[in-house]
Symmetry: C2
Amino acid sequence: MKTILIIEDNNDIRESTAEILELAGYTVHQADNGKRGVDLAFQHKLDLILCDIMMPELDGYGVLYLLSKNVETASIPFIFLTAKAERVDFRKGMEMGADDYLTKPFDDIELLSAIESRLEKKRRQEEYYSKSLQSLEKLSAGNGQGAAELKNIIAGRKIRQIKKKQVLYYEGDHPQGLYLMIEGAVRTFKLAEDGRELMMGLHKADDYLGVNALLLDDAFTETAEAVDDSAVCLLPKDAIINLVNKYPDISMQFIKILANNIKEKEDQLLELAYNSVRKRLAQVLVRLSKQLPDPSQFKISRDELASMAGMATETVSRTLSDFKDEKLIEKKGSHIQILDLNRLAKMKN
Amino acid sequence: MKTILIIEDNNDIRESTAEILELAGYTVHQADNGKRGVDLAFQHKLDLILCDIMMPELDGYGVLYLLSKNVETASIPFIFLTAKAERVDFRKGMEMGADDYLTKPFDDIELLSAIESRLEKKRRQEEYYSKSLQSLEKLSAGNGQGAAELKNIIAGRKIRQIKKKQVLYYEGDHPQGLYLMIEGAVRTFKLAEDGRELMMGLHKADDYLGVNALLLDDAFTETAEAVDDSAVCLLPKDAIINLVNKYPDISMQFIKILANNIKEKEDQLLELAYNSVRKRLAQVLVRLSKQLPDPSQFKISRDELASMAGMATETVSRTLSDFKDEKLIEKKGSHIQILDLNRLAKMKN
DNA sequence: CGGTAAATTGATACAGATCAACATATGTGG
DNA sequence: CCACATATGTTGATCTGTATCAATTTACCG
């Protein structure tokens, strides 16, 4: 039977909720503060967590943060219990990776249906993505012995859902493992001293994330944030390091990833140093069109474009308007449609 | 006894020179055009090459170019034979890596002493650098089995001298192997479409060059040019690839090099995108001070600084003058002395 | 010591940032 | 489903940092 953890400082609420769940046939663990909750989550194999936001010691956000940083607990469905359905809180929680919200007071039906629907969703997702995983196997490429083991590791890992705008990891965090993207898109960026951000890369299905930090055994040098709802698979650090040390075909694979990365960065440097804003933006559009699922049209904010091309958002706006006048693109709001990719790619300074 | 190859289309000159050399006790091979000369150079183990510049089929520069691209022949002393001692020719030849010039007509004494002095120089250099190699061994670091083999490879390789401004390889060339810097400094740069160059890196003793291209088995994406007279050691491609595939400690070493490289490039990107010219130049000076042998003072042209910081040479001039006024540096011609490294490093936008 | 290359300085032009006002989209609650 | 609110995008006016062009001055090397 499924196991559920309740983290809630109010004894009445916690115990009555536990009672309901036990009656419904779940195994229940209880924690009366965040710290204990995290401890319990690490000790037991859980299927779902209910967690209050406002708590002494360690609040709900803190719990979620700690759990999401650990490989084992990151993919456990997480439902917040909250007194007032405050807008801000809701957003913040969802952005951090909570799966649902329950507003107190809730009745039995509300509670049980939220839990069931969440567990069911999880199940369906796992089923769905196990298919994606199979298509990925070609990625962990080839014939070597290492490739086979890598496939095993990938197949055995849970898949983690990431909602749009949610952060996968922050610059300065230490890597838990290697992220393999299953679906969606994630952007990585660095922050300048003045807070402006510069996009370093855009990653889609089949890409590895955090290769650098993992292999150097150092902190992340970039922040990774989901552009769309995405799915990633976290391959544990030790297993990967082990594989790299054991199988030349695997280490060669990573070497190639790194070396290609360098090439890209060098090109970006050259571009940034000597190309006009016009040309830079055109290149960004071309790159996006190649990397995003639909090559002819996509949604992207001016802010993101600006941080990709290293310029001001207003300038992006103006330049896009120019492009539109020149029949290179069509645009409406944040929706951009490429009309003449060829001419964009050949744009001169 | 030493073996010498003469490449010269004029039969009289070639044969009389060969005669002199044979009388002096050298083994002599002769070629009456560039192509045949290159063939002979690949077939025989040579100690020195004499080569005419003006020849049909393949001229002296072509011969030198082809030989310098091959691992086996790159370090053979190369002396040009030339009719008029034209300044331009001289420069060009020396920049391409010729070791000496003999102006026709030359007498026996001139010829023999040039050859002897060149062979002697070579010998002394090898002796000198074999010491450098020993100090390098710590580089091919550590304890693994691979490290030991790498040491062997390095110890067995000839050392190649590179004169200031000489090009080690061009963007688009295919790598022969991996360059390990023994002494001096080499800069790598990329060319923008309009011909301006952007410096990607500055490499000094103990650095590997061309890691990227070699491991990707692709063309060089940058041009490498000596900043000072330098010495490099060319480790043959096959041997390195072999080592990487065989020993995890070696592949890990390269992975670290690549990953660190990416980090650097990312920082440069951020810098280039959002920092003022002032700050960028300051950072470049700081980086130079860290990478060059003498941290407090060095010689560098405004052009090079400009291409490192991605700006116009005039702007470099102006900014350096500002720095001087602010007592951050002292300068005279292309000679720069750092006065306040700390304040330079902390320069704000 | 003279000729050439490199560095400096001044004047000017202009791309793109910034500030500000406004328009349009997007999402939410009634 | 509409109306409101907030976020996002657009456009205009202005300012500024840096490139560019041109004229000297200074360094460098045989």
